[in-house]
Amino acid sequence: MDPVLEGLSLVFSWPALGFLGLGILLGIWLGALPGIGGVTGLIMLLPFTYTMDPVPAFALMLGMFAVTTTSDTISSVMLGIPGTVASQATVLDGYPLAQRGQADRALGAAYTCSALGGIVGAIVLAVSMPLIRPLLTSFSTPEYFMLALLGICMVGSLSGKSVAKGLVIGALGMMLGTIGEGTFNGVPRYDFGTIYLLDVPPLVAVVLGLFAIPEILELATRNTSIARVPKDQAAGGGMRRGIKDAFLNWWLVLRSSFLGTYIGMLPGLGASIVDWVAYGFAVQSTKGKNNFGRGDIRGVIAPESANNAQRGGSLVPTLAFGIPGDFAMSILLGAMMIQGLRPGAEMLTTNLGITFSMIWTLIIANIVAALLLMVIGRQVARAIFLDGHLVVPVVILFVFMGSWLGAQAMGDLLLMLSMGVLGVLMKRSGWPRPPLIIALVVGPTMDNSLIISNRIYGDFGWIDRPVSMVIAAIILLTLVLTVFNLVRRPQNPNEPNDAVKAELEGRISTEGGERNPLISVGLSCVLFVFFAGAAILALDFHPANRLYPLATSVIALGLIATVFWKEIPQSRTLANAAGGKLSVAWVQAAESGRLRIALTFLGWIALGVLGCWLIGQKLAIAGLMAAYVISWGKRPLWVGAFYFVGGFAFIDIFYDRTMNLFMHDPVLLSLFD
């Protein structure tokens, strides 16, 4: 039988089809929960596949894995919190769309693009398997450095209104990536004698702290629903409009899908940056980009097409070579070994039918998930009109437990809290957050591959390698486009469109949109001290590990100086307006930035972290949820009791018993012991 048809018949045979359905449902559920994604799902499913045949086993695992990047859009659009690492960029335009009452439109576009992107990724997987070898062998260490550099260059596109601030935050992400044992020689940096800091900070805790805490703070302090317009004034146009948007932007869908697939094929970078790169290219390569960051549907279409397509791409080196491009692929590779499947030539010859069953699984899962989510989409989208106080406690649970998934240590919660404080300050003072994430992801690759390349080829002796030069040309083009976009006059400045009006009227919050020079100067001072300290500490590092953090810190210090140069005069103007007294001006800035209530809320989160340490997560998080609903939400006691019982039960059943996480050993309990 033709292997393509054989693969299809294998998927449609029983029990594979049933497991595929189960996988899709599980994937939709896991993707929708912030902080939990496809990787967690794979870890959970792996033991169940021991005794299964290969086709049902992979129908279950791939069916689940393929669709988490479809349903993760729900959290990104509805809450402004990335559902998984693959949907971080969706937040930038998806959430403002929800705030303008157009969540269903954003979801409709996202589901359609996810399905289309997933299909493109699967087709490219099918045709690329025999062709992967030349691509893979043309990429060696210098090319990985150049690719990481390209990723960093996207920072310019993600920096909102201030490229200097974006670059400083990018440098901060790069510095966080230097924490722990250097990947080159294993000598620790910035570990301060702690075991937790022997590793790079877990991405999930950083993302949840940086993005989720500021958003739930907004919900908690503004006393509103997610949508900042009344239900009857929401002019979304519904899910149908979103679907239409996707097809109208078919060229963007297609090129983002190809971009996602090919980035997915390259081991090492993968899922964590694919959405950012796709978003950055969409910003640079489309016309009429004034609305990006304010709820431009293309800002949803590009990352959502790319992140589903990436799934197919990442399977290529895994199946063809046994090279897992990312963590998820490592798990799938482990599952293949347990199933007795051997990656490589066998997957293209004797087991080609199984390979095609995987490709069909990806295609079917993407289509079915998109259709299912469209069916329930209208009901989901209605949640944006729910009272924010009822939503906040649920998100708190996922933020705390999602962060705990990082390293399952108290350090995760402290990291989430500190990133939360930083995120709030950044949001209130016009500092963009996305550059930190992309730099944290690609930073360690840059650091390591630069050292190795220079060691092997001599200092920058690798720069004339053909593929490196091609990537260098793309980097140059990216920089030129960024500068071009900066110097170009904004479109119709005197006639703001709906999105700009929404921002001006405070109906949406945009990345880097709130500009408060006095808070910004304060944050600049903190960052200045941070980078100066980091540079001084770097002087004592092992010679091989010194250059990267030292150079990054010094460059960051220079960039902060330019921020000072721009914002100190603005601060003086504000001080003059406050009668020449800086202290008065600062108090006014803090009030307009609602810093007092922000500090109170962050105090609650800090108490939650302390509670986890003292009495364990179950009691502390459930208690925090109940206390919030009663105290902030002004709800009756029975509602608080409901949240307490529900939160406790969910942590116990899902995180403790199902995921079998190590929960923190309560300090108070050990005192009694």
Partner: protein, 363 residues
């Protein structure tokens, strides 16, 4: 030979340790219980995959047939999980460490290592058969015996200077007197393979299972590689033990290659002693299972009983063969205890040697 004397002493110590008999208490200890198997690396890696194959069969063979769940506790190159089980986990028999034996980390007092294997309860270990693949195109006649006449300086693509496979590759080249450059930082197959295929690096380490499953096809049949040497185990007298599997592939041991290059002479001196010690510590117990210090003897007995029933269990061996392309050999308990005890007998001089050797690799 100093090493032989050390090992003989350890052998006496090990011989005095009796294998506790299985008793009724051990039978009942795990009935209706759940054991958490802590794996110090992420799912999907070599360690995780091995224990995921082992665990269902181990659970079936332990008296009382408990459930065993795997919990991955990644971080700090395995130190976090080892620290956790050694110093934080309750010694109740329900938390088991399933790990590569990080003997060098303990031996060299690596930063962050807070465990002491000599205090922990060893359940069992597994032989590891490892070797190195080299780019045959830089060897005259594509023959590993011509290593000293390689057309280019051999670039070893390592993972980390303290990694036990990296140490063995470097020691091999130093023992042979071959010229090489050691470049660490190639963390995993995803970066090693493209670098090897493109000629950026010339040597990588492999274990036998990975070699026959994938690496032979990727590096040798479709790439410029050939097996260079394999790293032998050592008996209590300090003599190298041949690996039947590697011999079947026609791969020379390090000492055999040395002998070919030196008119039949055996290697000797500090480098060779260090190599032999490293092999005794890491090769004898590639992957191993441990309970926290002070765990109940019934638990130790029951787990050892299950562990050592596995090699004779056809169902387990078939699962292992399907997953890793070969049947498994477990280290006999006496030898495992001997290996465990060996770590406490290593001289300060040898510890200093390894610290300096690792530091040299970091430059």
């Amino acid at each position: 030979m100093r090493l032989k004397a050390q090992m003989a002493g350890v052998a006496i110590l090990a011989a005095s340790l009796s294998i506790a008999g299985q008793n009724a208490a051990a039978q009942e200890f795990y009935e209706d219980q759940t054991i958490t198997c802590v794996v110090p690396f992420p799912p999907g890696g070599g360690t995780d995959s091995f224990f995921r194959v082992v665990v269902p069969h181990l659970a079936r063979l332990i008296p009382g047939q408990p459930d065993i769940v795997i919990q991955n506790m990644d971080g700090s190159g395995g130190l976090r999980a080892n620290n956790f089980v050694a110093t934080e986990a309750e010694a109740d028999g329900f938390t088991m460490l399933c790990t590569p034996w990080l003997a060098i980390a303990q031996l060299t007092e690596q930063e962050g290592a807070r465990f002491d294997y000599s205090e922990m309860e060893l359940i069992g270990g597994q032989y590891s058969v490892d070797g190195a693949i080299i780019n045959r195109e830089i060897l005259p006649d594509e023959d590993p015996r011509n290593i000293l006449d390689a057309t280019e300086t051999v670039v070893i693509g390592g993972i980390a200077p303290s990694g036990q496979l990296d140490l063995r590759m470097r020691l091999t080249m130093d023992i042979l007197g071959a010229e090489y450059r050691y470049i660490p930082g190639y963390r995993g197959q995803a970066v090693q393979l493209p670098a090897f295929l493109s000629g950026e690096i010339h040597m990588v380490a492999t274990n036998y299972g990975n070699y026959v499953r994938t690496n032979q096809e990727l590096y040798v049949e479709n790439g410029p590689g050939t097996m260079f040497v394999h790293f032998p185990s050592f008996d209590a007298s300090g003599n190298p033990i041949p690996s039947e599997q590697m011999q079947a592939l026609g791969v020379l041991r390090v000492d055999e290659l040395y002998a070919e290059l030196n008119n039949g002479a055996m290697p000797e001196g500090q480098l060779w002693e260090a190599f032999a010690l490293l092999q005794t510590l890491s090769n004898n117990m590639g992957l191993s299972a441990w309970l926290p210090p002070g765990s109940p003897q019934e638990a130790v007995d029951a787990l050892r009983s299950g562990w050592y029933a596995m090699p004779d269990d056809p169902e387990f061996q078939q699962a292992h063969r399907e997953a890793f392309g070969r049947e498994i050999t477990f280290l006999p308990l006496e030898q495992a205890l001997f290996t465990q005890a060996a770590i406490g007998t290593v001289s300060d001089e040898m510890r200093t040697f390894f610290q300096d050797y690792i530091e040299a690799g970091q430059q």
